[in-house]
Symmetry: C2
Subunit: 187 residues, 2 copies
């Protein structure tokens, strides 16, 4: 079940460095792409960074709308991550072509990706020089949610292998998120 | 054995989102801190992003020197990551206090962290507004190396559990890097 995550805990959804899917919409057009280069930038209010190449269709939609969602796919969607990461939304609707389902977001117009285990709804902050120079977007997280089978009370608890998040390497290669460990208390 | 990694492959050392240690030096002072918020920004020439809080001693050293290294610790250093992440170099030398060994870097003055499995030597690009506003540093990677027992020919090959890289959650909790999987070819 999709359950809201308090904004102050939103960073936990991507703190471990999982690959993400960036979903976006402008008017009638929506799209989804893969992004390994996304991370938290601040805790509360939560901010995130994501690199969105200037040649992508997603970039057009984000430039026009000022919004996107970061969706965190589980292992069972690995092939989908590769599919949406290796085709362009300019060549036809990726949602139907790649068999990706949409969910409505709560605070932004962009759709969320069905079957993901966490979702961060984001509004782009006005940092045009950084966008233009580095394709780097700085955004505020305005809503966050997770599948409460795998994340609740501020903690990940992967039971099923197929629910684990993914870490992207290159060329269709990933690592699944591995064994949890505790190494002393941070003060 | 520490072996050079070609600059065009340097992004692979942190593409999967591992936690990093940031090492720095200015004059006689050097320091090491933990940073989960680091990622690639570009392929070639390689660039990286890292968040370095304005209250840290590392920030002083990086502001003064314009250099730092990102070191990728393996699982056997998990307790060290927590130790250097929960104390300040202002309270005494962290290297000796936390039992962290130094290696000489090849292109920068900052020391590298011994026992890590990958190292990125970085020079800060002049993006002061981004640093001041977000504590976000944009840097070019000027040299890269890896322990060739776990990374060679552009591929990670973790054999030993203790060699696996780490993904930081919060409160001393990590995930080890998990099972590799291939999900089709990216074009």
């Amino acid at each position: 079940m999709r359950a809201d995550v308090p904004l102050a805990k939103a960073y936990l959804l991507i703190n471990h460095g999982p690959v993400t899917l960036v979903s976006s919409r402008s008017g009638e057009c929506s799209n989804v792409m893969a992004a390994a280069w996304a991370m938290p930038l601040d805790f509360d209010p939560p901010k995130v960074l994501v690199v969105i190449d200037r040649t992508t269709f997603t970039r057009e939609l984000v430039d026009r709308s000022g919004e996107f969602a970061l969706n965190v796919p589980p292992r069972r969607l690995a092939a989908t991550v590769v599919a949406v990461g290796s085709t362009s939304g300019r060549d036809g609707d990726k949602w139907s072509r790649c068999g990706v389902g949409m969910l409505p977001a709560s605070r932004i117009a962009a759709p969320l990706v069905a079957g993901c285990v966490a979702w961060l709804e984001c509004r782009v902050l006005d940092e045009r020089p950084t966008e233009r120079r580095y394709d780097l977007f700085i955004a505020e997280v305005v809503a966050a949610a997770a599948d409460d089978r795998v994340f609740s009370d501020g903690r990940w608890h992967f039971a099923d292998e197929a629910d684990k998040t993914l870490h992207y390497v290159a060329g269709g290669q990933f690592f699944a998120t591995g064994e949890p460990l505790l190494a002393g208390q941070r003060s």
